[in-house]
Symmetry: C2
Subunit: 502 residues, 2 copies
């Protein structure tokens, strides 16, 4: 057991006065196993890290007199290293008591991305920065550390993570350094799943990060500009204005819907010379779009999409993606210059590199118990898309991750020498599902609590769209974004979408 | 002479009914010299261009019933090809009478950039897209054509420009096509001038385009993130937080001022753990910053910059720029990871490639007369930073370019068979100068008309800053930007600058 009580007694690595720091003085629990393998350079890194952590806490003592109780500079807090800045980690670092733990977040991404609105930024309904929340800003408010680095390896036995710089580097080679931890929380998410289809990585766009959405937006407008060149044949124009979306899940459907909005509302205004009607083709391998919704809502979504001129092709999977072609399983070829791929997620390289003791059987996820503790560890936890609870499979969606982040933060906050972190069990309570279908319409399944239980209310059309907008607006974490998002919506309504690229 | 009257009589290339289009039917003035060199592919391009121009005009007839008098579909308009989307061209295409001319804008950039506020976007006071105006949106409102392409060659003898696709391309090779013209207007601007200093192109940032500002903003935050790594020595942190600005003109000074604002207002909030104080060093080879201003304002600017912790080094030029070093003329070396270079402008490759008949003696500019007509041509004009009027040297600033654009548009609008374009002479009337100096201060020299003449009013401090903000706000062309810019200012004031990168 490695509860904070034990750690507080044993002293953690974060707050050793620098003058007294030596290998001999390091806590056996935290760093003794490390010492045998540490080189001079890494020792220096650990040393500097400890000194800086102390400076940081001194700064906190000086500056956080109102918002939080200032921890005594001499108080020794357990060091919690959090990997990732997604839904789960973001909620975790906001909820954990920073007077009780010294938290360091490590992530190659310096922001939390409000993923449900990412498809809106891919066509310019919203701006990219409007749905981004700076982790630096949160870190400065909540007083935790942030390292913009990629974790390349986790050493569960020696309680450290190996990091590699994710920013512009001093040297030609990215810098590497270890970070020791007392508790580790892994929330590194997942990567788009190509299902091994050849050509997807090379020629398709994903919708996972803000930069993906920027690339898609750029390509859409590039296609229209290329179609505007004087030498183009009708066939070339048709190919340039054929947009293929692969995957009929919420992301694929919402992107297709946003794209039809853009085509209907902006194209005739911006590209009046283009006589050819652009096409959106949505490919879904199963028999239905939005399979997580009820049959009636699925049918409604399908009808609505087709009414907006989105050609939905069910039961069709992709065999190969080429530079300007999508080859279907029946041999059919669709010529296109813009393919957006959103068929689900797979494991990150870091997950795949872990020992199988920590993984699920299929090696796609980190295996955790109901308390989110990683299998065969005492002080490491995982949540979100990278983790799977033994015997309790949940969908890879934002609300699961967020609830797990909250659950784990509560567990840390409640921990005492008698009550270790993760002794409670996580239970997911769905608040419902929403999907935008274009042209002020959507589908929604909302969980409404009743005296006895929870009942699901089904909505469609304009009402669902209003719930969709209001729901997401209230979920945006910061006031900066809560002001900018409706402002963007207003601008789009009045002035249309901005087609510029830079 | 090639006034519109003659062209209307001779028939221009833009509106030939496609069925009747053949080499024999082309106007001798417009295309006959072309025909001897045209290949089948380029003939097809010209053909398609003509067909599309006709479709475009038919569209105009159908859609522009309220805003403008619809030109008859059969009316044959002279074809004006405009190169560039800078200050001059933007004003020109807004002011020219599109019922009298068929205008095609050719530019690799799909937007007009409000350059005076570019330095604000480089630190995040404003967002990049807030100071951009889409040329597609203007084209759809004013009914002109736009080709997002780079002009690689101008054939003044045969009245055509050779274009190369500036967007994502169908093929591995960028597409090429010619555009014939009846009138040509060249406003391609200039490129940053490195004065042949080694290493500048490889290691320094410029502040010329929105993408430059984005790169600078990214690097600034990368430097802070890299300085936050645990293994950094004091010397490494000092180097990472030394920012060098080369050039004491308005761009260099305003960027240095914005940077000191960012350091003062945001750094302690965002990077409280960084104990080292960041440095801004402004290098100017001459004896003064803002040399276009009066001595008293120059002195004020210098004092103010130094009060904000900007180290101004006068009389110091740069001998070499290395990956992490700036070597001065006296052999001194400044270690830095962010160098912004703004020492003036030089000619674009297209200007340098022109025959010397069209250029000034030093081959740095296109030589034009007082009517802005290019030397040794009858139907080609140039304005803005790429042009220089014989015997009437003007500074390379936005207001000169904008006034030239307006002048030339008026000339085109007034042209008749008896009055050719460019028979009037251009005269620059300065409305003054503004420069931001950071911390709500600036300097301004405003030209105020008096009954007899014009008098210059000098302002400094807060008043000049208010004039600076209000002045630029009213100059922003579109309501989209006029709303977004103050909204950005407000957001920065309340929430601070957003440090995220994506």
């Amino acid at each position: 057991m490695a509860g904070p009580g034990l750690l507080l007694a044993a002293r953690c690595s974060a707050l050793v006065p620098s003058a007294s720091l030596s290998r001999a003085s390091l806590s056996p629990l935290c760093l003794a196993p490390l010492s045998s393998t540490l080189t001079t350079r890494t020792m220096r890194a650990v040393h500097v890290h400890c000194v800086r952590a102390r400076q940081h806490h001194q700064h906190r003592s000086a500056s956080s007199s109102t918002a939080q109780q200032p921890p005594s500079a001499s108080r020794q807090l357990p060091h919690v290293v959090v990997l990732g800045t997604g839904w789960a980690s973001h909620r975790f670092v906001r909820d954990i008591d920073h007077n009780k733990y010294h938290v360091t977040v490590v992530s190659p991404r310096d922001h939390m991305l409000f993923t449900p609105l990412l498809t809106s930024t891919a066509v310019g309904t919203l701006e990219h920065r409007s749905i981004i929340e700076s982790i630096r800003a949160t870190a400065s408010e909540r007083h935790f550390d942030f390292q913009q680095a990629q974790v390349t390896d986790i050493d569960f036995d020696n309680n450290k993570v190996m990091c590699q710089s994710a920013v512009y580097s001093n040297d030609e080679e990215p810098e590497r350094f270890p970070i020791p931890y007392d508790f580790l929380v892994v929330g590194i998410g997942a990567v788009p799943n190509t299902f091994g289809v050849p050509g997807v990585k090379e020629h398709a766009f994903f919708l996972k990060e803000a930069s993906d959405a920027r690339d898609v937006r750029r390509r859409i407008h590039d296609c229209f500009e290329a179609a505007s060149f004087p030498m183009k044949t009708a066939q070339e124009i048709e190919d340039l204005l054929t947009f293929v979306v692969v995957g009929g899940g919420p992301t694929g459907v919402e992107f297709a819907a946003e794209l039809t909005d853009f085509l209907r509302e902006d194209c005739t205004r911006l590209y009046p010379h283009i006589q050819h009607r652009p096409r959106v083709i949505l490919l879904e391998a199963s028999g239905a779009v939005l399979s997580a919704f009820d049959s009636s809502l699925r049918q409604y979504a399908l009808r609505r999409l087709e009414r907006q001129d989105c050609h939905v092709r069910l039961g069709r999977s992709v065999k190969e993606v080429k530079r300007h072609e999508v080859v279907l399983d029946n041999g059919e070829v669709i010529n296109t210059h813009c393919i957006v791929w959103s068929t689900g997620v797979g494991p990150r390289a870091l997950v795949k590199s872990l020992d199988e003791r920590y993984l699920t059987e299929n090696k796609q996820h980190i295996r955790v118990d109901r308390g989110l503790k990683i299998a065969n560890t005492q002080n490491a936890f995982a949540y979100g898309d990278c983790a799977r609870i033994d015997g309790y499979i949940l969908p890879a969606v934002a609300q699961v991750a967020e609830q797990q982040g909250k659950f784990l933060a509560d567990e840390f906050n409640r921990a005492t020498p008698q009550r270790e972190v993760g002794c409670d069990t996580f239970k997911f309570a769905s608040s419902g599902m929403l999907a935008y279908l274009g042209h002020y319409g959507g589908v929604a399944k909302i969980a409404v609590p009743t005296p006895d239980d929870v009942t699901n209310v089904k909505l469609s059309g304009l009402t669902a769209w209003l719930v969709w907008r209001m729901g997401y607006l209230t979920k945006l974490g910061r006031w900066r974004n809560r002001l900018q998002v409706p402002f963007d919506w207003l601008k789009t309504m009045i002035f249309g979408r901005d087609p510029t690229k830079f």
